[in-house]
């Protein structure tokens, strides 16, 4: 009996040992499984975060973007042109002065960005290069805060320009000299960026293309507006004598003269010299220049061939005449706010290009000046299509040692007098 009981107990003990062993194996399965889950979690949470967060269909991107406190855009006197409103979770971009639109552009989650909003996006959104800082911010879950940007634009003057262009299609540019600060960049027709999301489809469909900033992105046949530049080059190549350029008559005589004395290569060389094959260096979306090509030489000399330019390119080229032959680099952004103080916006330090000799430039200034107005100016009417004639105007003031440069282009305006009126009025307003 005792024996039997002992063997029974021994059996139970044996079973206990078996069970313990099985439990230990089971424990390993549990630990292994949970470690596998942890490894997969590390895979998604560490190794694949870039992929997951970067996917376009991740709704968090929109949510994050809605929380970014974008920097303000202000004019040269710190009048606010763009700022953020709305709630902490749902920031809304506001444009208190829509006349600044061609420069400021727009920022829309649905339709992207344009203008300064596009070109300085990373500064305005506060994307920092230091990824540790960014990491720390995301660890603390602080909203991304962008930096303010100060433009060279004078919003009062800009409003005047918009008023002068009212009802027309075209562009107006005013540039300070010799520093190159762009005071006005107007483009007509324009639109209210506050209403962009509601009206985007109509804006895209509209024939007049209000979304295009004509001053920096509009391509126009130059017509005779390039004549002073061509003349300067021809003078330096000694294809002309100083007597050929004594007065304003160059604007009328020069095309025929150059047609006789030049070949296509000379023309292309002259364009190249004034940098018309390069996009202006400016922190703003600009139109890529067209190829320097001549299809019909006679028309090309008169600027009515396939070669086209933007008003901004013309302004940069014209600045060489008023700046002793050195082309000025245009500026649109004067400063960026870094921790509550303005820091000058650093542009490229590349040396400015000396395109013509100082005395050549002076000579042309003299021949194109209107002494009673103390102004240097020239204008052009250009056949841009079978039915359309555009007009250009370039003015520099004062005639000696100019401090302001204005460029006007009007579409479908055969009378260059109108361009001149607008340009002169704008120069007057700039001086006041």
């Amino acid at each position: 009996m005792i024996n039997q009981k002992n063997s029974e107990e021994a059996k139970i003990d044996l079973e206990r040992e078996d069970k313990q062993q099985r439990l230990v194996r089971l424990e390993s399965v549990v630990i292994f499984s949970f470690v596998a889950v942890a490894v997969v979690l590390i895979y998604w949470g560490v190794l694949q975060t870039g992929y997951l967060n970067g996917r376009a269909d991740n709704p968090r991107n929109v949510e994050e973007a809605l929380r970014i406190r974008r920097g303000r855009i202000v004019d040269t006197q710190e009048i606010v042109l763009a700022q953020n409103g709305g709630t902490a979770e749902r920031q809304v971009r506001e444009y208190p002065l829509p006349v600044a639109e061609p420069v400021v552009g727009y920022y829309s989650l649905r339709h992207g960005t344009a203008g300064i909003e596009e070109s300085l996006n990373s500064i305005l959104t506060g994307d920092v290069e230091d990824s540790w800082q960014d990491h720390w911010r995301s660890v603390l879950n602080q909203p991304q805060v962008g930096q303010d940007v100060r433009l060279t634009i004078d919003i009062g003057l800009q409003a005047n320009a918009v008023q002068l262009l009212e009802g027309k299609r075209g562009a107006a540019l005013v540039m300070g000299m010799p520093e190159g600060a762009i005071r006005v960049m107007a483009s007509m027709p324009t639109f209210d960026p506050n209403l962009l999301d509601e009206s985007f489809d109509e804006l895209v469909a509209e024939e007049d293309a209000p979304l295009v900033n004509r001053a920096a992105q509009g391509l126009y046949q130059p017509g005779n507006i390039l004549i002073p530049f061509l003349t300067a080059v021809a003078l330096e190549q000694q294809d002309l004598t100083t007597r050929d350029v004594e007065d304003r008559s160059i604007m009328i005589e020069m095309p025929a003269l150059l047609e006789r004395r030049w070949v296509s290569a000379d023309l292309i060389g002259a364009w190249e010299r004034f940098g018309l094959d390069q996009p202006p260096v400016i922190p703003l979306p600009v139109q890529e220049p067209v190829a320097l090509e001549v299809e019909n030489f006679a028309e090309a000399v008169r600027g009515e061939d396939v070669f086209t330019v933007t008003p901004l390119q013309v302004a940069v080229a014209a600045s060489a005449l008023g700046n002793e032959g050195v082309m000025i680099r245009p500026q649109i952004v004067s400063a960026v706010q870094v921790e509550d103080r303005w820091q000058a916006f650093d542009q490229t330090e590349e040396a400015l290009e000396n395109v013509i000799a100082a005395n050549t430039a002076a000579m042309l200034l003299t021949s194109l000046s209107v002494p009673e107005e103390n102004i240097v100016e020239w204008e052009a009417a250009v056949r841009a299509g079978p039915e359309t004639i555009n007009s250009w105007y370039v003015g520099l003031f004062p005639a000696t040692d100019p401090r302001f440069l204005v460029v006007i282009v009007l579409e479908d305006e055969p009378n260059p007098q109108i361009s001149r009126q607008i340009g002169r009025r704008l120069l007057q307003l700039t001086l006041n």
Partner: protein, 439 residues
């Protein structure tokens, strides 16, 4: 003998301290989470949050002290873990589905009551052990009732709930079936064990006692799968059964065969049921259908990716983009707002809970207790693994809740019931250790 008394005293003393410390940490964490949530959502510490926390704290402390008094030898880790997970889950529901917040608070209080009852009342489970078939049959009847009267409180989807008459409350019989299933198996295997012990040496029973129920349970799970489309429950029941067979026999052939049967059922289901096909397809490659059929799992992965290591902080992420985040995807929400630190902490909590469960099973003196403790632990394991693996795409997605954390009354009550039983078992085996002194 004297040495054993001293050792027991030291251990008890140490355990008491440890338990208090852990509970204190759990309370601190839940309080901190509640305050943070309140500040994030309303900018102030709202009365609502204070009220919820007070209710939880009252429930926790009441249950804790009562259990300490009635079950002094209980495992020190289980209760603080459950308290922590319940508190965490409560804020998670408040954050993810504010409409359900008060309901969840009430469920938590009820669950604590169930936990205490389960830990205190069972007098060796006599009625449970005596009538295993009756209980199981009752459970199956309830389940069958859902086939006829089943509803889904949220409208569409699988109809796994029964409406409780006169109350705005729904109950999920498959949750109740979980514990009945474990009790049934524990009862069955312990009976087999005593039968085996009686057998004369040399005579073999053969495999019939395990093979027959294997097919029976498989058939039962397939039925659940086919009729209810409840992929998660079917898998969990089958895994629990297989593990208990393994613990009883140590024979891996059963496990291998069982897994083959499971795979066979899975493959069949893949071709027969759209839901299963969807889950498998989106598990293998969710990306082509990220905004369509695989939306849920992809959003879950986005949540994990957005959370990174440290998480966004409660209320600061966007887990709401995951459909039904508050029940099936609570773990992904933790991944987004508490990051890897949070998810790995949750994994650790469940791992500790399950391993303690195995330890309790090992310490039990009676076969029934052994299978009960092991079965409960395996149930927790299967459930947590399926949902944590599911939301992280380690496994195909099956809609089960994360015990204690997810929203859902039935799940919370049954999880608490199972944990209460574990606490009871841990107390009893160590109490019996004490009795050993007098042998």
């Amino acid at each position: 003998m004297g040495k054993k008394i001293v050792m027991n005293w030291i251990r008890q003393h140490y355990f008491d301290r440890l338990q208090l410390l852990l509970l204190g940490l759990a309370i601190a964490f839940v309080l901190n989470t509640g305050i943070t949530w309140s500040l994030v959502s309303t900018g102030e510490i709202s009365w609502q949050v204070i009220g919820i926390f007070t209710l939880w704290l009252g429930g926790i402390l009441g249950a804790f002290f009562y259990l300490r008094w009635t079950r002094p030898y209980q495992d020190p880790l289980l209760f603080p873990l459950a308290a922590l997970l319940m508190g965490w889950g409560m804020w998670l529901v408040a954050r993810l589905a504010p409409n359900f917040m008060w309901r969840q608070v009430i469920w938590v209080i009820l669950a604590l009551a169930v936990l205490v009852v389960a830990a205190v009342v069972p007098a060796r489970f006599r009625p449970l052990r005596k009538y295993p078939y009756t209980w199981m049959f009752g459970g199956l009847l309830l389940l069958a009732a859902t086939l006829v009267f089943g509803v889904n409180p949220s409208g569409g989807g699988a109809r796994l709930w029964l409406k409780i008459p006169f109350l705005p409350v729904f109950f999920q019989p498959s949750e109740l079936l979980k514990i009945l299933f474990i009790i049934f198996l524990a009862s069955y295997f312990s009976q087999q064990e005593s039968l085996k012990r009686l057998q004369r040496p040399g005579r073999r029973f053969g495999r019939l006692p395990y093979l027959a129920p294997l097919f029976l349970v498989w058939g039962f799970c397939v039925t659940i799968l086919v009729w209810q489309r409840d992929l998660g429950a079917a898998t969990i029941f089958f895994l629990v059964f297989l593990t208990l067979v393994y613990l009883a026999t140590g024979d891996l052939q059963y496990v291998g065969g069982g897994i083959l049967l499971l795979l066979a059922a899975g493959i069949l289901a893949y071709f027969l049921f759209d839901l299963v096909a969807l889950r498998i397809d989106t598990w293998i490659n969710p990306w082509p259908e990220a905004d369509n059929r695989a939306f849920q799992i992809v959003q879950s992965l986005y949540a994990l990716g957005a959370g990174g290591v440290f998480g966004k902080g409660i209320g600061l992420g966007f887990p709401q983009y995951i459909p039904v985040v508050h029940s099936d995807f609570a773990f992904a929400a933790i991944g987004e707002e508490w990051g890897l630190i949070g998810t790995i902490f949750v994994i650790s909590c469940f791992m500790v809970l399950i391993l303690r469960g195995f330890r309790i099973a090992f310490q039990t003196k009676w076969p029934f207790d052994f299978y009960l403790a092991a079965g409960i632990s395996v149930m927790f394991f299967a459930q947590t693994l399926l949902i944590m693996g599911g939301v992280s795409r380690l496994l195909p997605l099956t809609g089960v809740t994360l015990p204690f954390v997810s929203y859902g009354g039935s799940s919370l009550l049954i999880s608490s019931l199972m944990l209460g039983l574990l606490i009871y078992l841990s107390d009893r085996s160590r109490r019996e250790d004490q009795f050993d002194l007098h042998d």
